[in-house]
Symmetry: C2
Subunit: 357 residues, 2 copies
């Protein structure tokens, strides 16, 4: 049995003010009138039946998530009471898989990425699942880097390789944190490094074993939850489990420690839409380098990114400004400071402006 | 008979996007929840009965004007079919005055100025009207300058002075255009120059004589209209008159040419709210020099002027930006470029964006 687990519980704070707690980035129609979660589902549907696509969401996003995927029919929604990062999310999916399907091969992937070469992506997903079905290994998709990006973690692939169904799989020799520009240039030049995109393959049983080894607290909580899956006390037990489980990422918690981790290089036009600046390339362009999703008239204005969902924005003498406007909020930030949106949302949280987050 | 004529037909383009064709600057609640026209009426009411206050408006602003002054009861509204600058506006008021009241003393004043010392202003208005009642003169209020402003016309007062009721009136020796900064500094130092604020006093009969002398086309059109005032064909005749009359200001058309023009110096805390920048001083201030009429959270943001009428605006690393937001439009302009709003509205007009003007 093969299951695609779409991790859709992120808060998308870097896309504030369009991204909100109850309707985060992945649920906003950003590209061609569709939200990123929809695009992620559409990308999977040619190779997964709807009932083999599971979406992990958070309670506060459940309503908006249901609305966003209603047209796909009977997808399974796993609801986390609160977000506790990716390790509990994946432990939850693996636990449900083992409780309801015996064992299963899972591919887990974020809901908010764009992939240009979808056919190649689907081939890799099929190949990756076939790979983990044959052995007790974890597998991660490694994106072929096309620039010395400093915003991603990198995976160094080793020499040991196996071919299966037209793809070549490499043993991982190490995961690295976000590098300096100098290190990133070296990584790019070496040809041996790949970006960690947060797309993983494993059998449920194997992941649960690895969790028990490297994150015993997480493993124990979900082991206790297992027998209640599908029973009337499941929601209550899930809430208890999540109230106690530690918040930790699958990368630092398991992948980087596991000894049986493999990587499948993928050159698929991947984009994680990490900030408004990286989203600019999906917007309309005018003759002077403004990126627009807005009705715009500018006098001496260049290089701006203006996302106002059809609202009218006029600028005079403005260069390289990022403007994002919604019904109730306007964000203004120098384009080069777009990564600082989180500073702002943290400050808003401090000031008790939760209603705007 | 004394009449105050409030010229309220301006378009207030420099306050776009808050100021719109159908609801220009003077009809927007800018200060203490009141619009500038309301404040102008309130300033006059202690010395004029409501039926002695006439408001000249334009057809497209009539509805919003009525709504803005409804609470004052029976003010008289004179409706210009189209705006043709101040000379026709004043000719119209003088014509109506002569047709309905025989002769009258008029003070005409813009609807969109602020005056801090209202008691002194009212004393000057009473004094000015008394002055013109006694002679065949035009009189202008001359604002005592407190800085070398380059955005106003100046009036040079002569030596010849007359005292009346506690005020001193001076003969005007010349009107000047907006000066260079150097000239403005000289004017300020000399003590002999005053700002032309567009506030004028005259008897209706005297103004009509001066119009006949200096603007015969304008005078002839309104002379033809005179006999129809108060008759059933008045609206039709007024439309004809305005379709033909030339567009010209009373300053360049009459005041600067008339030989019997006097000036009454006024130190009354006058402010013409000429641009968003000059309006900033009536907004709330935060600790780092932002002027706010908005809910604002800033990270490293200073010296901004943000008018968003209660909307939430967040800024990161933004200095000296003017931000104006309404339901359907957002204006962004460097604070020092606030005078360039007209360039923008001209461009919008060219592009056929009339619905946003």
């Amino acid at each position: 049995v093969r299951i695609a687990v779409v991790m859709s519980g992120g808060s998308g704070r870097r896309f504030w003010p369009v991204s909100r707690k109850a309707r985060p980035k992945q649920l906003v129609p950003l590209v061609g009138g569709k939200c990123l979660l929809e695009l992620t589902i559409e990308r999977l549907l040619p190779v997964f039946a709807p009932d083999a696509i599971w979406i992990v969401t958070r309670a506060e996003q459940l309503e908006a998530t249901r609305a966003a995927v209603a047209r796909f029919g009977d997808l399974t929604l796993l609801v986390e009471p609160v977000g506790k990062n990716t390790a509990p999310c994946i432990a939850y999916a693996a636990t449900v898989a083992q409780a309801t399907l015996g064992d299963a091969s899972l591919v887990v992937l974020p809901a908010d990425h764009l992939i240009a070469d979808e056919a190649r992506f689907r081939d890799l997903v099929a190949g990756g699942l076939a790979f983990v079905e044959g052995r007790k290994s974890l597998l991660t998709l490694g994106i072929t880097p096309d620039r010395p990006a400093t915003g991603y973690g990198y995976i160094r692939r080793g020499k040991r390789a196996e071919d299966l169904g037209g793809s070549t799989f490499f043993k991982v020799t190490r995961f690295t944190e976000k590098p300096s520009l100098r290190a990133a240039r070296r990584y790019l030049g070496s040809g041996a490094y790949l970006w960690n995109a947060g797309i993983f393959f494993f059998r449920a049983s194997v992941m649960l074993e690895e969790l028990a080894r490297h994150l015993p607290q997480v493993a124990a909580e979900f082991k206790a939850l297992g027998p209640h899956i599908g029973r009337s006390d499941e929601p209550e037990r899930t809430a208890e489990c999540y109230s106690r489980v530690e918040s930790v990422s699958i990368d630092s918690g398991v992948l980087e420690k596991a000894r049986r981790t493999w990587v499948l290089p993928a050159d698929i036009g991947w984009d994680d839409l990490g900030s408004w600046t990286s989203f600019a390339k999906y917007m309309d362009k005018d003759a002077v380098g403004n990126s627009l999703r807005a009705q715009h008239v500018g006098v001496d204005s260049e290089g701006c990114v203006i996302y106002a969902d059809g609202r009218f924005v006029a600028t005079i003498g403005i260069k390289d400004l990022l403007v994002v406007a919604t019904d109730d909020a306007i964000l203004l930030v120098k384009r080069e400071d777009a990564e600082r949106v989180k500073e702002l949302t943290d400050l808003m949280e401090e000031k008790g402006l939760d209603n705007l987050l």
